[in-house]
Amino acid sequence: MEKLKYILFFAGLCCFALAGILSAVLPVAHLSRIPYQKLEQLVTAPSYEFLDLAQRYPDQMSKYYGQADAASFRDALRLGRDTYIAEACWHCHSQFVRPVSNEDLRFGKVSWAGEYMNEMFLPHLFGTRRVGPDLIRESGRHGNDWHAAHFYNPSLVVPTSVMPRYSWFFDGERPNKRGLAMIAYVQWLGSWATPEALAQQERSHAAK
């Protein structure tokens, strides 16, 4: 009887381990062939939108980020990602485009595993619910001023929106450190998969 107990205990652990191997270790091992990038490797220059923020809100930008360069852009992206998690944005916005239900027509290029193999998706923010639209192809879809107005009061730009106001992203009416970071982050999401970026990659691939 005693011996049986240990065998069964071991069997229970085996069930747990088997599931872990089949549905986690195997896919993870498979995906680990894609090189992992730190943000420093991934982002080497400030985005157009980040430079645009420095034009629109020069006082706020120099106050919180100093010079708008690659280093301050990376700081903004990290803070934007952390804020996105803290506010649970990912509970109402997903971050992957599926190959079904016309999602490529609505959002853009279908998601592939390689685009998530970097620091910004640790933890991944795939999400499981869309109250609002998917955001992984959000880059360049709206202007910075649209995003500023939208975070300040979403119904100003989307009258039927149910998203709450994020007044704590603002000093008065101008975005503060978190507000600027959020705009930079959302504008960065999918910047590698805009039609222009994809055409650019296509050209450089052909040149090789």
């Binding site: 069997a11 986690a24 993870v28 995906l31 997903s94 991944h124 709450p164 994020y166």
Partner: protein, 474 residues
């Protein structure tokens, strides 16, 4: 069957002379469970109001709807369900084993550690320190303490189980002891690996596994373990088939955790993992059948108990909803159905039916049964208990079917490329109904809590059958 009958007479332990069950600890866990239950319920209500474009705390950062949503889910998992289940393990395990838990002091220590964990996690989440893992939003600095608390709890509860030597373990103890091992493994995997080690799609596979193991290997074993004890005890007849109950246990252990990836269908997770998740999810249906058949065959011939015994009514209405949820799961976890319903309110309805319709019902049924026994008083009002059953059951069914319909509407509008705003406008009536059904559920719980309060405060019974000397309260 008698060797494994759960009906062990409740005399003080022979070896220690301590009372078998520490009623004050159980009572404290019940109270804590209901405190966090209300925190969760009201967070859920405030979050739901957002969808009717009512913002109870506009511009208040600490009570922003997004943060309240995380309080809602984590409060239910770690505050309500865990506290209630710990209370019920303290009630059940000594009765089945004939041994008290390891130590009374340790019980109180675990109690306070657990409340501190949940309280600090809630403050952390509201303060903007949440972790980006679904069902694991508890801040990263809380996670190690959850594991430590879990280890102390396991030591406390495993002790009496390990002392059983001369007879086979009853299935309730199988479920409980398995859960004590699976919980820390699951929690560590889900909270640490995708946070620090595995990014992107691989991390998603692990969080899917974590979400599913948390429900399948922690909450479900606790729930069924409790059912296997309470249902035979209240009906005063043994479970229909002990063999079938073990088939159910091993089926759960084998198939349940294989389902993880079904939370991220059509994502960049490799497709072989997704196909595997489809098949194992459908296979779970076999397990579900064995358990459901076992319990309804046990009820056979005692159908009157659904009318006369409120705990039995709660338990079996919960099981009916368990069957409904799992049947739904077998269909919704196919890649075809996922095209439409993924990301929609359908899934939210499913989650509510599982967490409240099934496990909430079972805990409320157990509350109706155990609370008078731990307080040594009769219910202040039987009628209010029945009111809660009606309000909760109708509330959750309305919510479930309403969100299911909303999910289909949303899914097809998205697929048909309607402007995004159209899906919001079309969802509004469903969201209003969801809020109303939620208010019905909250009203039921307020009545329940008020009844518990009045019961505990009422005068102690004059008969000698008081708290200390009740011999046969099995």
């Amino acid at each position: 069957m008698s060797a494994i009958s759960p009906a062990v007479p409740l005399a003080p332990s022979r070896t220690t002379g301590r009372p078998l069950v520490e009623r004050p600890v159980i009572k404290a866990h019940f109270i804590a469970a209901f405190v966090f239950f209300f925190a969760s319920l009201f967070s859920g209500l405030f979050f739901a109001l957002q969808f009717s474009r009512i913002y109870p705390f506009p511009g208040v950062e600490l009570l922003s709807p997004g943060r309240l949503r995380m309080i809602h889910t984590n409060g239910i998992a770690y505050g309500f369900l865990m506290n209630a289940f710990i209370a019920l393990m303290y009630w059940i395990v000594p009765r089945v084993t004939g041994q008290p838990v390891l130590s009374r002091k340790l019980s109180w220590f675990v109690f306070w550690v657990w409340q501190a964990i949940v309280g600090v996690a809630a403050i952390g989440i509201l303060g903007g320190r949440a972790q980006g893992i679904e069902w694991g939003e508890t801040p990263t600095f809380v996670d190690p303490f959850v594991l430590i608390g879990g280890a102390f709890l396991a030591a406390n509860i495993a002790t009496p189980i390990l002392k059983v030597r001369d007879k086979p373990l009853y299935v309730t103890l199988w479920y409980f002891s398995a859960m004590l091992v699976w919980l820390p493994l699951t929690y560590a995997m889900g909270n640490f690996v995708p946070q620090y080690f595995v990014p992107g799609a691989g991390g998603a596979a692990i969080t899917g596994l974590f979400i599913h193991d948390l429900v399948g290997l922690t909450v479900t074993p606790l729930g069924w373990g409790m059912m296997y004890y309470l249902v035979p005890v209240i009906l005063k007849k043994p479970i229909w088939s002990h063999t079938l109950s073990l088939a159910g246990f091993w089926g759960l252990a084998f198939f349940y955790p294989l389902n993880g990836v079904h939370h991220f269908f059509w994502s960049p997770i490799p497709m072989y993992a997704q196909y595997g998740a489809v098949m194992s999810t459908i296979a779970v249906e076999i397990v579900v059948f064995t358990v459901i058949v076992n319990f309804f065959m046990t009820l056979r011939g005692r159908g009157d108990a659904l009318r006369t015994e409120l705990p039995i009514r709660w338990f079996f209405s919960g099981m009916a909803m368990y069957f409904l949820t799992c049947l739904q799961c077998a269909f919704q976890a196919t890649l075809t159905v996922q095209k439409v319903i993924h990301f929609s309110d359908w899934v939210v309805g499913h989650a509510h039916l599982v967490m409240f319709g099934v496990f909430g019902s079972w805990i409320l049924g157990a509350t109706v049964y155990v609370w008078p026994k731990v307080t040594a008083r009769g219910w202040w009002s039987e009628r209010l208990n029945y009111w809660n059953w009606w309000l909760s059951t109708l509330g959750i069914l309305v919510m479930f079917f309403d969100l299911m319909a909303a999910g289909l509407v949303q899914g097809y509008l998205w697929q048909n490329l309607a402007p995004w705003e159209q899906s919001l406008i079309a969802s509004m009536p469903f969201w209003h109904i969801r809020t109303i059904s939620g208010i019905a559920i909250i009203t039921g719980q307020l009545l329940q809590a008020f009844n518990m309060w009045m019961t505990a405060r009422s005068a102690a019974p004059e008969s000698a059958l008081g708290a200390a000397s009740q011999p046969a309260l099995v």
